[in-house]
C-alpha cells in the first residue's frame, strides 16, 4: 500500500465488494465522459440542474460547507459548475460557440481530482434546494457524481469499508452475530439492574408485531438509545424483535452507490417478510430514514407492511395513552437539531417535537430550524478521521446555532449527527451534551 495519500478523504484500494472494475488512471477522463452521458439519460434531475441554473448565487450563503470553509468551490452553484462546464462542452444542446460562452471545459485529470475533493465536501443536506428559486437539489448532483467516481474506482476508504462490513455482517460496524448477541444480553442485564424488570431485547422472533431496525452504533456507542427503545416497547406491550440478518438502518449506498443502496433495502424488506412482522420501525438515522421513507417502496415495492419511523410509532403510543412521560426527569435546557434527512428529506418535523415537549421540561428551538436547519457537517458519511479539519469546518455554522440557544443538551436523533456533533461542539467550544431523542424518552418514561 502506498504511504503517501494525496486525497482527503483517503481513497479505497480494494473495491471488490462494489463489484466494479477499476479504471486505469489515464483512461479515467474518457470513461467519466461515457458515464456522465449515461447518467444524463436516466436522471432527469441531473440534466435539469445542469440546464436551468442562472448563477444567481442565492445558494452560496445558505450552504454550511461554503460558510464553514470559505472555499468558493463549495458554493453549491460552483460545485455543480464543476460538472456543468463538462456538460456544456460535450452534451448540452446548441452551437459550440454558445456553449463556450457558458464556460465549456474539457474533462481532464484535474477535473476528476476536483470532483473527488468537492463532492466529498458536500453533505447532501439539501438546504440549497430550499433556497434555490429553481429548486436545484445539489445533493442529487453529489450523489450522481460520487456514483460516477465509484465507477472510475474512486471511493473513500471509509465508505468502502462500511459496505464490506454490511455485506459480511448485516451492519456497518462489521460486528459479528455472536458479539451482537453478547452485547444484547449485557444490555438486558443492565436494564434489569436499572429497573428491576425483565425487559427483553428479542431477536428473530417470528410474527412479532414490529421489526425494529436500529443503527449499528446503537449497539456500540449509543446503547442508551437502544435500551430506551426496549423499555418503550415493553411498556406499550408491543411484541417486537431485532433481526439477525440486518441490524443497520444507515444505508451508506445512498451516498455513492445505488446498487449498494438497493441491496441494503432489499435485505431489510426480506428480513421483515421472513419474520412475518406487521411493520418495520426504523431507528434513529437520518439518511437511512430517507431511504426507507422515499426509496424503498420504489425499489422493493409494493411492500406487504409499512416502514415507519420510531418517532411515529412512539407518538402513537403516547397519544393513545399506552405510555406516559415524566418531564421532570429531563430538567435541562434541551434544543433540537433537525437531521437534514428527517426534516427536508423525510417528512419528520413535528413528530419529534411533540415527543420532546412531552418528555423534557425546557425545550428551546434553534435558529434556523426545521427545514431551514443547518447540517451537522457529517452528512453523507463525512465521518472520516483524516477529514477532521474539514468536518469541524463543515460543522461551524451549526455550532454557532447551538451556542446561541444556550442549551445544555443537544438532541440530535441521527447516528451520523451523534458521531459528528460532539467533535464539532468540542472544537468550537460549545458546552453541550449530545443525545438522541430515544435517550431522553427513556429517561422520562414512566415504567
Amino acid at each position: 500500500m502506498s504511504k503517501e495519500q494525496a486525497r482527503i478523504p483517503y481513497e479505497a484500494k480494494d473495491l471488490s465488494v462494489l463489484r466494479l472494475a477499476p479504471v486505469a488512471v489515464e483512461d479515467r477522463p474518457k470513461a467519466a465522459l461515457e458515464l456522465l452521458g449515461e447518467m444524463l439519460k436516466y436522471k432527469r434531475s441531473l440534466r435539469l440542474y445542469l440546464d436551468v441554473c442562472t448563477h444567481c448565487g442565492a445558494c452560496a450563503e445558505q450552504c454550511h460547507s461554503y460558510l464553514g470553509t470559505k472555499d468558493p468551490y463549495n458554493m453549491p452553484v460552483a460545485r455543480v459548475e464543476l460538472v456543468r462546464r463538462v456538460y456544456k462542452k460535450f452534451f448540452a444542446p446548441g452551437r459550440s460557440v454558445f456553449r463556450a460562452w457558458e464556460g465549456a471545459k474539457d474533462l481532464d485529470q484535474e477535473t476528476i481530482d476536483q470532483w473527488y475533493k468537492y463532492f466529498h465536501q458536500c453533505n447532501q443536506c439539501r438546504r440549497c434546494a430550499v433556497f434555490c428559486p429553481k429548486g436545484i437539489d445539489t445533493a442529487e448532483v453529489t450523489i450522481a457524481m460520487r456514483e460516477l467516481l465509484a465507477h472510475l474506482g474512486l471511493v473513500t476508504k471509509f465508505h468502502a469499508g462500511i459496505v464490506k462490513n454490511m455485506e459480511k455482517t448485516g451492519n456497518n460496524m462489521g460486528t459479528p452475530l455472536p458479539a451482537i448477541k453478547d452485547g444484547l444480553e449485557f444490555l438486558e442485564e443492565e436494564l434489569k439492574e436499572e429497573t428491576g424488570l425483565d425487559i427483553p431485547i428479542p431477536m428473530d422472533v417470528e410474527r412479532a408485531e414490529v421489526l425494529f431496525n436500529p443503527s449499528s452504533s446503537d449497539l456500540f456507542t449509543n446503547t442508551d438509545g437502544l435500551m430506551a427503545v426496549a423499555k418503550i416497547f415493553y411498556k406499550a406491550g408491543v411484541s417486537w424483535t431485532l433481526s439477525s440478518r440486518i441490524a443497520e438502518t444507515a444505508n451508506f449506498g445512498l451516498f455513492f452507490h445505488e446498487p449498494t443502496m438497493r441491496e441494503h433495502s432489499r435485505r431489510l424488506v426480506q428480513a421483515g417478510k421472513e419474520l412475518g412482522v406487521k411493520r418495520i420501525v426504523a431507528g434513529e438515522c437520518g439518511h437511512g430514514w430517507r431511504t426507507w421513507r422515499m426509496f424503498t417502496d420504489t425499489i422493493n415495492g409494493p411492500l406487504p407492511f409499512p416502514v415507519v419511523h420510531l418517532f411515529e410509532e412512539v407518538l402513537e403510543y403516547l397519544r393513545t395513552g399506552r405510555i406516559q412521560f415524566d418531564k421532570s426527569k429531563n430538567p435541562e435546557v434541551v434544543t433540537y437539531h433537525d437531521p437534514c434527512n428527517y426534516a427536508r428529506g423525510g417528512d419528520l418535523i413535528e413528530q419529534p417535537r411533540e415527543l420532546l415537549r412531552a418528555c423534557v421540561e425546557n425545550f428551546v428551538e434553534m435558529t434556523p430550524t426545521k427545514q431551514y436547519s443547518f447540517c451537522c457537517g457529517g452528512g453523507s458519511g463525512i465521518l472520516m478521521d483524516e477529514a477532521m479539519d474539514l468536518r469541524v469546518a463543515l460543522g461551524q455554522p451549526k455550532a454557532e446555532c447551538v451556542r446561541a440557544t444556550g442549551a445544555e443538551i443537544l438532541c440530535a436523533p441521527c447516528a451520523i449527527c451523534k458521531a459528528q456533533l460532539p467533535v464539532v461542539m468540542d472544537h468550537h467550544k460549545v458546552d453541550v451534551r449530545v443525545k438522541g431523542l430515544s435517550d431522553l424518552m427513556g429517561l422520562a418514561l414512566i415504567l
Binding site: 448563477h55 444542446p93 454558445f98 422515499m294 409499512p306 413535528e350 431551514y372
Partner: protein
C-alpha cells in the same frame, strides 16, 4: 436587404425560438425520474403542489427566504418584465386604446397606456441595473459568472434602454409598428418603420430570442420541471400528522 432583414429573419427567429424551446422541454420530459425527490414540508395533493408551484413562480418565495435584496431585484425585474410584455401585446394591438374597453375615452386610454408603460419600463430597468451591479460588484458573484451571464445582461440592457429611449426621446409611431408586426403575423409583410431606435430595439430582441433556447434563459420553462421534482406530493404510507 430589407426583405431579408425585415421579412425573412423574423420568421427564422421565431422558428428557432419556439422550436428550440419545445425541443429542450421534450428532452427533459423524456428523461426518467427514478426516485421521489420531494423536499419537505410539501403539499399532500397534486392540487396543493400546483398551487405551491404557482406561488413560487409569481412570488419567488425561495428567494424571499434568503437574502431579501436579491428577492427584491429579481422579483421587480421579472414582474416588470411580465407587465411590459403584456403591455407590448395589448398596447400595440390596440394602439393605446385598450382602456376604452373599461370606459375610458381614447385620450385618457392613451395617457394611461403611456403612464403604465413608463412605470413598468422604469421598474424593469431598475431591476435589471440592480442585478447587473450585483453581479459585477461582488467577487463571489464574479467567480460564479461566465461570459454568457454578462452577455444576457448586456442584451437586456440594450433592449430595455432602447425601449425607454423611444418612450422618452424618440416616439415611434404605434401605427407603423403595428402594421409591420400585423403584416408578419398574417404573412402579408410590409416594410418595418424606418426608425433607428426601433430597428436597434427589434434587432436586439431577435438576437436574444435566437440565443434563448441555448442559454440559461431556458430557466423560464425549466423552472417548472425542476421545481416539480422537489414539490410533487408523496403520500405517506402511514398517516400520522
Amino acid at each position: 436587404m430589407s426583405v431579408l432583414f425585415g421579412w425573412v429573419l423574423p420568421y427564422i427567429v421565431l422558428i428557432v425560438f419556439l422550436g428550440g424551446m419545445i425541443h429542450r422541454m421534450l428532452v427533459w420530459a423524456h428523461v426518467p425520474v427514478p426516485f421521489k425527490l420531494t423536499v419537505f414540508p410539501s403539499p399532500d395533493t397534486t392540487g396543493g403542489a400546483v398551487l405551491d408551484l404557482a406561488k413560487e413562480a409569481v412570488g419567488f418565495r425561495s428567494l424571499w427566504r434568503g437574502k431579501k435584496s436579491l428577492w427584491f431585484g429579481a422579483w421587480l425585474f421579472h414582474i416588470a418584465l411580465a407587465l411590459v410584455l403584456i403591455g407590448h401585446f395589448v398596447g400595440i394591438t390596440f394602439l393605446g386604446h385598450q382602456f376604452t374597453l373599461f370606459g375610458a375615452t381614447p385620450e385618457q386610454s392613451e395617457r394611461l397606456s403611456i403612464l403604465f408603460g413608463t412605470y413598468a419600463g422604469a421598474a424593469l430597468l431598475i431591476g435589471l441595473v440592480f442585478l447587473t451591479i450585483r453581479r459585477l460588484a461582488s467577487p463571489t458573484m464574479r467567480f460564479i459568472s461566465n461570459f454568457a451571464d454578462y452577455l444576457v445582461l448586456v442584451l437586456l440592457l440594450g433592449i430595455i434602454g432602447s425601449g425607454m429611449y423611444m418612450r422618452f426621446f424618440n416616439e415611434v409611431p404605434y401605427g407603423a409598428v403595428r402594421d409591420y408586426l400585423a403584416g408578419l403575423f398574417t404573412f402579408r409583410p410590409v416594410l418595418p418603420p424606418d426608425n433607428q431606435a426601433f430597428l436597434f430595439h427589434f434587432t436586439l430582441v431577435e438576437l436574444l430570442l435566437l440565443y434563448f433556447p441555448s442559454s440559461k434563459l431556458m430557466h423560464a420553462c425549466g423552472l417548472f420541471f425542476s421545481r416539480w421534482l422537489i414539490t410533487r406530493p408523496y403520500e405517506r404510507q402511514v398517516i400520522l400528522k
